[in-house]
Symmetry: C2
Subunit: 189 residues, 2 copies
DNA sequence: TTGCAATCTTGAACCAGATCAATTTCCAGC
DNA sequence: GCTGGAAATTGATCTGGTTCAAGATTGCAA
């Protein structure tokens, strides 16, 4: 919970009263490893803030192969935004990869908080802008880099991730097969 | 200009006075075909709204090949959000593909308008959310579909685009070579 | 501690899509 | 209405990455 308050206060300042409102309105939930927060075919009712742990969002192709589209660790928000906004069914699943502590925010609660704490809209706007900017860069990387380049880029920029995430998930996140991932790993130890 | 006002009023309602403020503050600019609105290496100072025409955002790999990351037609906003937010240099270029009429919005003007027309923050927030949602779906499609599937999906969902955009740009947008695009096209006429 | 299931590795055959090179078609500007 | 350059097609060849199948490792549940 303090995790989120600290994160918010990186962008806007909160009065004592506002902090009280937030603490009263929001609550953290603890989940085991491999707990499903969203199952493909359901509506994505929440935007999840990770206080502690690690989540991922993924989907299945018709042929049954699984593809991870996003990871989220401490201080990241994660949700299927299209489903979250429209309340239509999501093609994605979201699950914990570690025992995790998250805050689940619904659109209603979000609106409520934004009216009680006007500043908060600015925080949410910033978060969404940053998420969009990150998505733009991810699209660029996927187009720009070969598998090997993606692998090298990722291992050098986010080494901490590799410890926390199974290789076959990393492989599907970067857009190639587990076998090829293993070969790249061998290549540059 | 009315194009933007209409677009805004799909999401929020504006008073006559607010419309006046908008008309006074914003202006449309007309550009020839192939006009560069942003050159790679510069800061992206504006978020562009397309009243009429067509823009694209693209970048170059070291090997010199060009990759289109986004198109924008009427009623779409386009910018390199990371550069726009941080005012750091952008790796992208933005150019018109047709004679176009656009509204260029700077972060300062955006803030100014948001204080004069509080409702407008909601509009901008919605636009960004939708853009983020679209980017999430784009990433999903790029992971989910083979070249041929992407091609079929795109031609069936956005046939109007194909008329307006050169094939080699479509090819790089979908993530493959112009030659392969041509072969796919032949395959399914 | 053991046993089983999930994950990771390795090899060999294969293929979607790239690259290179040679025409052909399409236009924008004179 | 030419004409030169950009865009599109087509064929031949090549390769990054997949797929399939068979072990080797790991890790966790009982």
């Amino acid at each position: 919970m303090d995790q989120l308050l600290a994160h918010i206060q990186q962008y806007i300042s909160l009065s004592g009263e506002e902090i009280t409102i937030l603490k009263r309105t929001l609550s953290t939930t603890t989940f085991d490893k491999n707990h499903k927060l969203l199952e493909a075919g359901e509506v994505c009712h929440f935007n999840y803030f990770v206080c502690k742990g690690c989540l991922r969002m993924y989907f299945f192709k018709e042929n049954g192969t699984e593809h991870t589209t996003q990871f989220a660790i401490e201080n990241w928000w994660l949700s299927d935004y299209l489903s979250y906004l429209t309340q239509l069914k999501s093609p994605f699943s979201i699950e914990t990869l570690e025992p995790s502590e998250v805050i689940a925010l619904s659109p209603d609660t979000s609106d409520l908080l934004a009216t009680e704490i006007p500043q908060l809209s600015k925080y949410f706007a910033l978060i969404t802008q940053r998420a969009y900017a990150a998505a733009q860069m991810r699209i660029k990387f996927l187009q720009e880099f070969s598998g090997e380049e993606l692998f090298n880029h990722f291992t050098s920029h986010f080494p901490e991730f590799l410890q926390r995430v199974p290789q076959y998930m990393m492989a599907s996140y970067l857009g190639f097969s587990p076998e090829y991932y293993s070969r790249l790993r061998k290549k540059t130890p």
